[in-house]
């Protein structure tokens, strides 16, 4: 049984390692001696003969290797040897080991953390059946650059009835409601959805049923489906809940089903958490409400999204001829996943790109460190090569070294990333979609593993191919003498280029953030409490009652201690999209000259409370009531637009709301950023809530007292007026404004951190290269000093190399940074993608870093004693 004997011998081979080695050595030495003798007999001198014998022998080490093969399986053995060798090298150079492993850990940890966020938010498929066939269908106004507009009920009905490309189409509309009874009313967010919505997503209820088609035909009915979270918090996870009732806005609704905990409804910026769903049913009433629906469709499998788009656009063209209100409107389709990730996509991709650059820098630095180590052992490598170790074997040893460092670094990095992800999720801007699906799972682990392997291989390859070169050549060429070429020069260039790209991106986003912060928002958000109060139910059906309720509420709030001013507005600044409409100057022809303007319903004291300057005219007063002629206050932009050189007071606007009104302009106020700091203020009109009473208003209260106590008093006042009304959406206006900048702050903070790390890495890397360079050229420098080279001359000698490399790095990095900045242009504000200040500043910074990192080695060079010149190796 030869196989058994083979196996036994192999085991014996391991056990008898030393015996085998000795026997090999002795046998080889004898052979070599015999060869040498033969050469001497042939007439050569003994030393010549020895060299010839060595050459003829073709390398002692290699044959030992080959012969050893007969005793054991070689790869495994060599791997073990190489690993032991690597550990020995690291033990003897602990500084190298720690620096390399930590740098690796930094690169791998940061990339893993960012990738897990990118994967959770952008890459993980939405939790629905065939999510890539789900799309959002928008209306669109090509003439106004308005690509994604909510949809009117008649248009939704037309699309749903006529389009053949869709399996299903469903409408979705936010539906807030007050639940519960006095004295503990609560405001919760839900949604109205077309029956068929859940089937379209491919989700089924955990209990009961969802809406049936008949519910739409029969006009809905008061039925409701609960979310798992709401069912647990408000019904104690009662299994018998189906059939019970839930009061929504004072009307009892029958609970027909509960969704499973795994159901994560599609979320949009204005529709996030959803506690319940009610059926949405088109009615004659809501067909006249204009555009307010979100429409989601499932494209039939096999139908390209492009074909579906062409079909709905065709239907939209028909609708434009059927209804005058559809003139200038078309349709648009956006993938559901792209719609949901929307604005979060680009910043995250930028961060992912940046962290990849950081990883590259980390790899460059570790490669640099390893290269330095290999070069310090160059003489040893050359000797081993000369006595026959193969080039491949030396390369494998260097690769094993980098793999050992890599494994250690990746483990540390991964553990750090686990903590980092948690911190990162906490830092994420609050509106980031799908942040709850960020976790470390198989794809993230796979990513970490593959970048780690790639990083270790890259380090090993650089170190082996560049560092092994001399070791692989011959003993004669090396020997510690310095070469004129700067070794590691291209690494310096790479470090500078990568550092420049990262720092420029950071500079641009930080300047963007600063610019956004310095935007004059047009109002003073400090010390302002905001809270929303809504009235509902039959008691408030009459507009006068609503107006009287808010008037009374405000007068009581104004009487509170510490309240300086109090007012109300239909949608608070930075409170999301409010109503808007097309306004015209009543003096000019119908369609000409109209502009899109925001509309807000306000209490007369709003401008004083928010400290918005009244530029001309006056605000509303007691003359504005339910039956008075409508009056309007416009912002400066709108006034300039219509009456650039005339007094706007007393002019009239044409407003197509409330069946078309022509209000008189009584005042002009400063422009206010209603949406966010980034969007420039556009035309806006303010109508009196006393004249057009809303059913929900944001109270704005300027106070020098503690915000929380004001809120408590406010709740007490509302409770005293009507205990069934909830107070919700309570914030400090300052916080709302700050939150609107959260994403810019997040991007700027992370990129800033990356930039700082990259500058450190660049400094350390460049220092390493030049420290090695100076050490290697000690003799040459010594000769120069001996010949009388001045102190400054020696420093300049070293510096010149650094600056040359740094300048080419700056050139390379600038080109890359220009491209990168162009790609992220839409994230920038108030600063150009090719902003010369940022680019020049960062280039100077990188040059300074390079010079600073070279200074220590240069000074060390200048201190080299001329005695070095006469010492031999």
């Amino acid at each position: 049984m030869p196989t058994i004997r083979d196996a036994v011998m192999r085991v014996l081979g391991f056990a008898r390692r030393r015996t085998v080695e000795r026997r090999l050595d002795d046998e080889m030495r004898f052979h070599l001696d015999m060869l040498t003798e033969q050469q001497v007999r042939a007439g050569r001198s003994p030393s010549e003969a020895r060299r010839a014998a060595l050459a003829a022998f073709g390398g002692l080490e290699r044959f030992k290797d080959d012969a050893r093969d007969e005793y054991r399986s070689r790869l495994l053995d060599e791997l073990g040897q190489d690993t032991r060798y690597a550990l020995r090298v690291i033990r003897r150079n602990p500084g190298f080991g720690v620096a390399a492993a930590l740098t690796f850990a930094l690169g791998v940890g940061a990339s893993t953390a960012i990738f897990s966020v990118v994967h959770g938010v952008l890459l993980r498929p939405l939790p629905y059946k065939d999510p890539d066939r789900l799309v959002v269908v928008w209306e669109r106004q090509p003439g106004r650059g308005n690509d994604r507009n909510v949809v009117s009920v008649p248009n939704f009905e037309a699309w749903r009835a006529r389009a053949r490309s869709f399996e299903r189409m469903a409408a979705l509309v936010p539906s807030p409601a007050t639940i519960g009874m006095a004295p503990n009313p609560e405001h919760v967010m839900g949604a109205e959805v077309s029956p068929g919505y859940f089937e379209m997503l491919g989700v089924t209820p955990a209990l009961g049923r969802v809406f049936a088609r008949s519910e739409e035909r029969d006009g809905g009915g008061d039925v409701v489906v609960l979310s798992d979270g709401f069912w647990r918090s408000h019904f104690g996870a009662d299994e018998q809940v189906v059939g019970r009732t839930l009061s929504l806005d004072g009307r009892p609704h029958t609970i027909i089903g509960v969704m499973p905990p795994s159901f994560d409804p599609p979320q949009f910026s204005w529709l996030n958490d959803q506690a319940f769903w009610r059926p949405f049913v088109p009615t004659d009433d809501n067909r006249g409400w204009g555009r307010f629906l979100l429409v989601i469709g499932r494209v039939k499998s096999g139908v390209p999204v492009g074909a579906a788009l062409r079909e709905v656009q065709g239907i939209a063209a028909q609708r434009a001829t059927e209804d005058k209100g559809n003139e200038g409107w078309s349709a648009n389709i956006v993938g559901l996943s792209a719609q949901i990730t929307g604005d979060a996509r680009l910043p995250l991709l930028v961060l992912l790109g940046a962290v990849c650059l950081l990883l590259l820098m980390a790899i460059t630095n570790v490669a640099n460190l390893t290269l330095g180590l290999v070069r310090r052992r160059e003489h040893e490598l050359a000797v081993r090569r000369a006595i026959g170790a193969t080039r491949g074997r030396l390369i494998r040893q260097i690769m094993t070294l980098s793999a050992v460092v890599g494994v250690a670094g990746c483990l540390i990095g991964f553990v750090a990333a686990l903590g980092g992800i948690r911190a990162l999720v906490a830092l994420l801007p609050p509106e980031t979609p799908r942040s709850d699906s960020i976790r470390v799972d198989a794809p993230v682990l796979l990513f970490t593993a593959s970048i780690s392997v790639a990083a270790a291989l890259a380090v090993g390859a650089v170190a082996a191919l560049r560092g092994g070169r001399n070791g692989v050549a011959s003993l004669r060429e090396s020997g510690g003498r310095g070469s004129a070429r700067l070794r590691g020069g291209s690494l310096v260039t790479a470090e500078v280029a990568l550092g420049l790209v990262l720092t420029v991106l950071a500079g641009l986003t930080i300047r963007t953030f600063a610019e956004l912060r310095s935007v004059d928002l047009g109002f003073d958000s400090e010390h302002v409490v905001v809270a929303r109060v809504g009235v509902s139910g039959p008691r408030y059906r009459a507009p006068e009652v609503r107006a009287a309720f808010f008037a009374q509420l405000l007068s009581r709030v104004r009487a509170l201690p510490g309240v300086q001013a109090a007012s109300a507005v239909s949608t608070r600044p930075f409170g999301g999209m409010g109503p808007a409409t097309t306004i015209g100057d009543a003096a000019s022809a119908e369609t000409a000259d109209s502009v899109e303007a925001d509309v807000r319903y306000i209490d007369a004291d709003l401008f004083r409370t928010l400290r918005v300057p009244l530029v001309a005219g006056s605000t509303f007063d007691t003359h504005d009531g339910p039956d008075t002629p409508p009056r309007v206050i416009v912002n400066r932009t709108l006034a300039r637009r219509f009456w650039p050189s005339e007094n706007p007071i007393g002019k009239r606007l044409r407003v197509p709301m409330f069946g078309g009104i022509v209000p008189e302009v009584i005042g002009v106020v400063g422009d206010v950023h209603l949406m966010d700091a980034r969007t420039p203020a556009r035309g806006a009109i303010y109508l009196a809530n006393a004249r057009f009473p809303m059913d929900a208003l944001d109270l704005v209260v300027r106070t020098n007292a503690d915000g929380a106590s004001v809120v408590r008093s406010l709740q007490a006042i509302v409770g005293a007026l009507d205990p069934s009304l909830p107070v919700y959406g309570v914030t400090m206006l300052d916080d709302t404004v700050g939150r609107a900048l959260a994403r810019d702050r997040f991007t700027a903070a992370l990129l800033g951190a990356f930039a700082i790390v990259s500058l450190l890495l660049a400094a350390v890397g460049i220092y390493g290269v030049f420290a090695g360079d100076v050490a290697q050229r000690r003799k040459e420098i010594g000769i120069r000093v001996a010949l009388g080279a001045p102190w400054g001359g020696v420093i300049a000698l070293v510096m010149r190399r650094a600056v040359t490399r740094a300048v080419s790095g700056v050139a390379l990095g600038t080109v890359a940074a220009l491209l990168a900045a162009r790609a992220m242009r839409s994230l920038l504000f108030g600063v150009g993608a090719a902003d010369p200040v940022s680019f020049l500043g960062v280039a100077t910074l990188l040059l300074l870093v390079a010079v600073a990192a070279t200074l220590v080695p240069a000074v060390r060079a200048a201190r080299v004693s001329p005695l070095v010149a006469i010492r031999t190796d």
Binding site: M9, E27, F30, H31, D33, G58, F63, D66, Y71
Partner: protein, 113 residues
């Protein structure tokens, strides 16, 4: 590692040649290369890179055995000698070789009528 061994022995025949050279009596590695070179009128040159692995392999397979001995000029060297199974293997290989070389010869003579 593109290093060409000088005068390679035909693939697969090295074992047979080594065994044959030991037919003349125990010998160390160096002596085996000399025997082979001399015996082939210096046509065949065995590289050490092939020889020693072959020797170790043959020993492991039990066809040869080895022990330390003293050379004619009083040096320690490892001497290899044929085992009985080695003799049998040599006979087998020789028979196979004879059959093969006759076959090749026949083919080469086909054109000569």
């Amino acid at each position: 590692m593109a290093e060409k061994e000088r005068g390679d022995v035909l693939q697969g025949t090295l074992d047979m040649l080594v065994l044959q050279s030991l037919q003349l009596g125990p010998m160390h590695g160096w002596g085996i290369t000399e025997r082979l070179e001399a015996g082939s009128e210096r046509v065949l040159q065995v590289g050490q890179g092939s020889l020693y692995p072959a020797l170790y392999r043959l020993e492991r397979q039990g066809y040869i055995a080895s022990d330390w001995g003293t050379t004619e000029n009083n040096r320690q060297a490892r001497f290899y000698k044929l085992t009985p199974s080695g003799r049998k293997r040599l006979a087998d290989e020789r028979a196979t070789w004879a059959r093969m070389s006759r076959a090749v010869d026949l083919v080469l003579r086909m054109g000569e009528g």
